[in-house]
């Protein structure tokens, strides 16, 4: 029993592990890294197919950069309001938090509305999911991004409803933080899409 114990002496007993992030925060980070690969695959698809217009007009001639610029500013400012909302939660100011949450959701929905308008505009000019490989790739990439924005808005509104419940106080910081991570991620993806699809499309 009391023999020399090489294992237990050479490896010191650790009683404290380094502080780990909350399960939800870590899980969302991992989920978002999977989402990165999802959008990377879609962007690669777009880059491969964006010149295959099947005889129709090229994307560069169709897109309205002014509208998309306004949409971009709208979406990016929603990241700011999301961060302001998170700051309010950390201060314990629920009223301020709800205000910024509503503003963020409205900005997100505004972006989605402008995208719907753009889609309609393109559709009337004969550029659609089924018109050409370029159309398929464009609508799939931007459409999936739009769905992510809509899901984020759904999440924001759900969180707003939840914030009136008693359980919210205990969970608030984490619940808002993971939503914030997701929302900023969707914005960052849009920056890449705006560059690759719109700016490069206009230059070409």
């Amino acid at each position: 029993m009391a023999e020399m114990n090489p294992h237990l002496t050479t490896h010191p007993v650790e009683t404290e592990m380094p502080a780990a992030p909350d399960n939800s925060v870590l899980g969302v980070w991992i989920w978002l890294s999977a989402e990165s690969l999802f959008f990377a695959s879609l962007i690669a698809t777009f880059l491969l197919l964006h010149n295959q217009t099947n005889g129709g007009p090229g994307l560069g001639r169709l897109i309205d950069l002014q509208l998309t610029f306004i949409a971009t500013v709208t979406l990016l400012s929603s990241s700011l309001t999301m961060a302001l909302g998170y700051a309010q939660v950390l201060k314990g100011n629920l009223g301020g938090f709800r205000f910024w949450l509503v503003v963020t959701a409205l900005l997100g929905l505004g972006f989605a509305g402008m995208q719907a308008f753009e889609f309609h505009h393109l559709y009337t000019q004969g550029f659609s999911l089924s018109s050409s490989p370029a159309g398929s790739a464009f609508f799939t990439l931007t459409g999936f991004h739009g769905l992510h924005v809509l899901f984020g808005a759904f999440w924001l509104i759900s969180l707003l409803a939840f914030s009136f419940k008693k359980e919210f106080v205990e969970e608030a910081a984490v619940k808002v933080k993971v939503l914030g991570l997701y929302w900023h991620f969707v914005d960052v993806v849009w920056v890449i899409i705006f560059t690759v699809v719109y700016l490069m499309g206009k230059v070409a």
């Binding site: 237990l8 592990m17 399960n23 690969l37 018109s131 999440w155 969180l159 969970e171």
Partner: protein, 631 residues
């Protein structure tokens, strides 16, 4: 560390105290216990394994003689497609994920996974997607374009029936479940390790799970995209893959294999982990070269993402691209060889117990090395132009998937069965099963090397008598009967031993890892107290150098004395999975109403799941509970 069980409760509904473990069907449908979920993964995986086995049996019957007509050509195409899809997605992966669920939380000293409800959702999505895929037989025929479903043959023009839609949407649903499993186990392994369980003290099976989960998280999104693109092509008239409009069939192939090659490592990595658990215990020696084992698992995981073009050397990417991918493919043999030698060296000089689990390990080592060598042959790009799409490839991947993955799964079953059921599998039946399967497998699949070199293409419906293929094909089919006899004995063994097997103690093999430090079968909460880990092979170290029991972790890691906080069961994951399946049927059957109902339920389910805080429940640990090493 923040684990679920330690979360302190403030306000809201008070957690209810439950002493007894609930029984009955409803308790299984609503469970969030990782051990029950693991058992359901195993059960469902074995069910799909049986279905895919029957399909394989019919394929071999058809090929037993030249100009045979046991099944029609159209049915033959459906059979080999469903056989491949089922074995990869619905049998192989679920059986391995079953082991991961059963073993990993206990081996790291945790009471459950990081997201228990998400874990249940993964299970139901897999079962839902799998059953949905099988209902395609009743909706005009199963998918029939091969398991990698190349376009244009899988396009709407050449596959007008709904079969390929079932492939796209069924695999999408079960794939989302797998992705969630990957996220869940990464979080679990990073966050829920018991105090002292540092990275280089993790059991090898946990390391294998960690790398497998990374592969899942980074490999499944390209498949998700690929399946979406094909769904849009087939259902909404998009043009991703239609050549006439300028689409690219190579896009399908590349996205598929960017997923598909890591996928075959998802199928072998946990198998490596199982072997690394069984060999040291049955040889009574520590695993030789633990650190190199960890490094080689990581190297294999990393390399698996840069070899995908070796599945398509004949698609015309030219000598430079092919050379690079040939080299990277051969490079994988190096870390894999390191693992083989480490297992052999662990046995060398050990007191090897040749029980059934160890028989499977030996069978694994022999057949997997043969499969690895034919793999290196296939990696030679110029030679591959000859081998590709021949029976040589079929022989190769059955040697690595049966000889590798399946033999390891059986080794794991004989090794862990006593832990989770409290009873041993019968050793005599086990050895009969092993020898019949081992001999039957080699008789079935070794001749396929010859058939391939003679030029027999894979997926061929039948062959003419004068081609000289008759003899080896009939030998191969004879082997199937031996193989099947072994499988039947294995099934009898499992069913019989579940109720009547010899009773097992908590630590029947003189184990090294934490699952052997708790009762067999384990209580719902696994550990009466969170253990303090003091070395690699945590349990063995305490038996050898400590006083034969795990020490409790410091106070900060425990809840209120005498109670254990556990998540409550919920039907929400099942509801959510069902809603997604309903939406999937809506898309396939072009029923807008069904799709809207499905997606509405999904939205409700997501909302409810995200914002329902689980108050959890307090479980009282049983009185007599402590496990001590004998002697």
């Amino acid at each position: 560390m923040a684990t679920h069980s330690e979360r302190v409760w403030h306000g809201g509904h008070a957690p209810s105290a439950v002493a007894e473990e609930p029984r009955g069907l409803w308790s299984w449908l609503t469970t969030v216990d990782h051990k029950r979920i693991g058992q359901m993964y195993m059960g469902a995986g074995l069910f799909f394994f049986l279905l895919a086995g029957i399909e394989a049996f019919l394929i071999r019957l058809q090929l037993a003689r030249p100009d045979n007509h046991v099944v029609s050509a159209a049915l033959f195409n459906q059979l080999f497609t469903m056989h491949g899809v089922t074995m990869v997605f619905l049998a192989g992966m679920p059986l391995l994920i079953g082991f991961i669920n059963l073993v990993v939380p206990i081996q790291i000293g945790a009471r459950d996974v990081a997201f228990p409800r998400l874990n249940a959702l993964s299970l139901w999505l897999f079962i839902g997607g799998g059953l949905m895929l099988y209902t395609s037989w009743f909706f005009g025929g199963a998918p029939d374009a091969g398991w990698f479903n190349y376009v244009p043959i899988s396009g709407i023009q050449y596959s007008p029936g709904p079969g390929v839609d079932f492939y796209d949407i069924g695999l999408q649903i079960s794939g989302i479940g797998t992705l969630m499993t990957g996220i869940n186990f990464l979080t679990t392994i990073i966050n829920l390790r018991a105090p002292g369980m540092s990275w280089l003290r993790l059991p090898m099976f946990v390391w294998a799970t960690f790398v497998t989960s990374l592969l899942i998280v980074f490999a499944f999104p390209p498949l998700t995209v690929d399946l979406f693109l094909q769904t849009f092509d087939r259902l909404f008239g998009a043009h991703f893959f239609s050549v006439a409009a300028g689409g690219s069939p190579l896009l399908w192939a590349n996205l598929f294999w960017v997923f598909g090659h890591p996928e075959v490592y998802i199928l072998i990595m946990p198998a490596f982990g199982i072997i690394s658990e069984v060999v040291p215990v049955m040889s009574r020696r520590p695993l030789f070269g633990y650190t190199t084992m960890v490094l080689s698992v990581m190297a294999i995981g990393f390399l698996s993402f840069m070899v995908w073009v070796h599945h398509m050397f004949d698609l015309g990417y030219g000598p430079w691209v092919n050379s690079i991918f040939a080299l990277s493919s051969m490079l994988i043999a190096v870390p894999t060889g390191v693992k083989i030698f480490n297992w052999l060296t662990t046995m060398w000089g050990g007191q090897v117990r040749m029980n059934t689990a160890m028989h499977w390990v030996m069978g694994f080592l022999i057949t997997f090395v043969i499969g690895g060598m034919s793999g290196v042959m296939l990696a030679l790009a110029p030679a591959d132009l000859q081998f590709n799409n021949s029976y040589f490839v079929v022989a190769h991947f059955h040697y690595v998937l049966i000889g590798g993955t399946l033999f390891a799964i059986f080794a794991g079953m004989y090794y862990w069965f006593p832990k989770y059921t409290g009873r041993f599998l019968n050793e005599t039946l086990g050895k009969w099963q092993f020898w019949l399967v081992f001999i039957g497998f080699n008789v079935t699949f070794f001749p396929m090397h010859f058939l391939g070199l003679m030029g027999m293409p894979r997926r061929i419906y039948t062959y003419a008598p004068h081609l000289g293929l008759t003899f080896w094909n009939s030998v191969s089919t004879d082997g199937v009967f031996i193989l099947s006899a072994g499988m039947v004995i294995g099934a009898i063994n499992v069913l019989w031993s579940y109720g009547h097997g010899q009773l097992a103690s908590a630590d029947p093999w003189d184990g090294r890892t934490l699952e052997w430090a708790i009762p067999s079968p384990p209580p719902a909460y696994n550990f009466a107290y969170i253990p303090q880990v003091r070395g690699l092979d945590a349990w063995w170290v305490e038996k050898r150098y400590g006083n034969g029991r795990m020490l409790p972790a410091p106070e900060a890691h425990h809840g209120p004395p005498g109670t254990i906080h556990m998540p409550t069961s919920t039907p929400m994951p099942l509801f959510l999975a069902l809603s997604i399946v309903i939406a999937g049927y809506g898309l396939i059957l072009h029923s807008l109403i069904l799709a809207i109902i499905g997606f509405a339920f999904v939205a409700i389910g997501i909302h409810r799941s995200m914002f329902t805080v689980d108050p959890g429940m307090y479980v009282r640990p049983h009185e007599v509970e402590e496990v001590r090493a004998d002697g």
